[in-house]
Symmetry: C2
Subunit: 397 residues, 2 copies
């Protein structure tokens, strides 16, 4: 089949709050083929900046837009998707935003190919099986310990067996404030649920500050401390990780969501001493590149975990990536209430089974469908014009 | 003083050719302050995608545009520029294009601060002196050896004492074709001029292919082989570099222009075995971040060289970065004829002295001024609109 159209949908809540909540908008990408099929994908990225990467004028042979690279191309096999992902990367070699933007198209290509061939994406990318994963509810800390505890209690009421708390006041006060927040999360979850902490790069390059928290949080049975340091501080990560291991502190160090391309993730895995590498399929350039990271993590004995804070298009895409690795048994599962993000794939989604686990679907493609009504409801209509000529006008759902 | 406006100018030749020639368009950035001063900078990036990063709507607290981060801010000292660059990085933590886009503003901030304080940028960023650099004419290979030789001869006629040839047919045929091209360049330059070769990432991850060229080109007295491999192939670079050294092959391995942020350059310096690290100030987020790379290269004993293929705003900004390191004695100097790129700073520029060297200016700021007439002549007028409301309209020069 041939790729006939790549449609871009910028959707957003009417009012965007200034919090670390990525469920307030999204860029949804639809690929249409000449045999009437449609595939869907989603970027975790600035929608407008990413749209520009699909349509902007050529600057030279290494700055050519994504639509130009993909439209009219043949798509019949997994090798075609890999070839097209590489082609978009060559056309856009000097577009920094390329990876964030092309992620949505790459996911949509796998989805439509799966529908065409009648296979789930996890099979197409080389997995033999789709293993169950324990979903952890991914939420923000409350503004204080009391609110955090009540959030934790509500997570248990919703039958989650694992939760990650992040951002909010973490690291903005004193050590004892941070401990009180995590203690409140542990108290609310009870002793049996898994608890993870996301520090949102708050300690910059301060290894001592991060190490103090690692020790304190390990006492509260925290599985991992995520992004204690800025992504670029690879040497500091290594120092932290070495110190944690040398002192027998029982907590993992996690990071990697800031990796926008394969080598950046590989750098973190090879040089930062990570125990868990967290990859956002909507940032790192899609399923094709995320799968490379999962394969490499398997080789290195590091646990791959998805980073996901968008709709179930992204949840599904993320789980296909590492479906076949039984040892990668945890999955980030957005547990917020954003009507935009929930609505985007209603009534489909990756839902928990009666034991509380999720797994990648056996249905062709991603196994999750976009909801056109939600796109219509939340769509932001974009126009771009150069020298009086239309360059882009939002597509019709 | 306060930052009152950040103006964005997308300029381009009327017709863009599909070649690796980055002098066909540019994004020029002007910062205006409340005391009537102006600073200028330039990005080496897709203009439209980068403009979007200055004006796009907020997605959440880690996707906030560059104008929002900088407008109204205080700018009185070098510490302010460093603080503002960090602030833009935090506001745009999850905007992949951030570094390419903010580069222009960062350069403009240093320029306007220099004018305000009456100091050249190299002093403000901590150098004690501005040493001379040998400029190498940076050109593309001709389509065949004869054309390449004639380009080399024209470079010598223009009194250059060093030249770099890149892209074109290099690596697209057989080993002997590549050797013939480089032999032609050497013949045209004569035996005394320095010759560098830029392979434009053509051998991907093929260390053997790159090594064969390294050996052959060393016999033609080539100073460095640049980007023989894809940037992400850090392990392959290291293997190549180790093999070249172990066998006593007298040629340097160069790379780094693909580094869009500090850690990416540090990764190349630390793990790829580079002899020369080539940094584009218009991609890596401006003078502030490029200076960090120069300092680190100095520590590691790797030679820092600028990568520059835009106007003299970028040439000037690039040279300020490493002005005070006497041992970093080579500078990439665009030698093309693009009327756009030459016109953008006419009649100012960083010109060769009678001995053929260039150095960073002693004048306040960058020491190079933008030419408003050229901006008017080549400006592409952009409009972006969301839900019928104007988001951006090209600024008036």
């Amino acid at each position: 089949m041939k790729i006939e159209a790549i449609d871009l949908f910028y959707v957003a809540l009417p009012k965007i709050e200034r919090s670390a909540d990525g469920t307030q908008d999204s860029l949804v990408v639809r690929v249409r083929t000449d045999n009437g099929l449609e595939g869907w994908g989603e970027c975790d990225a600035s929608p407008l900046v990413s749209m520009a990467a699909y349509v902007m004028p050529m600057s030279h042979s290494n700055i050519i837009n994504i639509r130009e690279a993909l439209l009219g191309e043949t798509l019949d096999s997994p090798e075609d998707v890999i070839r097209l992902r590489a082609k978009a990367g060559e056309y856009g070699l000097d577009i920094q935003q390329l990876d964030h933007a092309v992620a949505g198209a790459d996911i949509a290509l796998w989805d439509v190919l799966g529908k065409h061939l009648g296979e789930p994406v996890w099979k197409l990318i080389g997995h033999d099986a789709s293993y169950k994963k324990l979903p952890y509810a991914s939420v923000l800390f409350g503004d204080d310990p009391a609110e955090t505890r009540s959030i934790a209690e509500s997570i248990i009421k919703r039958d989650f067996r694992a939760a990650k708390f992040g951002w909010g006041p973490m690291g903005k006060g004193y050590l004892e404030d941070d401990i009180a927040l995590v203690q409140a999360a542990r108290d609310g979850l009870g002793p049996y649920a898994k608890l993870m902490v996301d520090a949102g790069v708050i300690w910059g390059d301060n290894v001592d500050a991060a190490y103090q928290r690692a020790v304190a949080f390990a006492n509260l049975d925290v599985t991992w401390l995520e992004e204690p340091l800025r992504s670029e501080e690879v040497g500091a990560y290594k120092e932290l990780s070495d110190r944690v291991r040398a002192n027998g502190i029982s907590i993992g160090i996690a990071g990697g969501e800031g990796a926008d391309f394969y080598r950046s993730a590989d750098d973190m895995m090879t040089n930062a001493g990570l125990d868990f590498v967290q990859i956002d399929v909507g940032r790192i350039g899609g399923i094709t590149e995320a799968k490379r990271v999962a394969d490499r993590a398997h080789e290195l004995g590091i646990q791959y975990v998805n980073h996901t804070f968008k709709s179930h298009l992204s949840v599904a895409a993320s789980i296909h990536v590492f479906a076949g690795y039984e040892e990668f048994d945890l999955t980030e599962y957005p547990a917020g209430e954003s009507p935009l993000i929930l609505g985007l794939t209603e009534p489909t989604g990756i839902f928990r089974d009666t034991d509380g686990f999720v797994r990648a679907s056996e249905a062709p493609g991603l196994g999750v469908e976009a909801n056109l009504d939600a796109i219509r409801q939340y769509q932001r209509h974009v126009k771009m014009e150069i020298d009086g000529q239309a360059l882009f006008k939002s597509d019709e759902p």
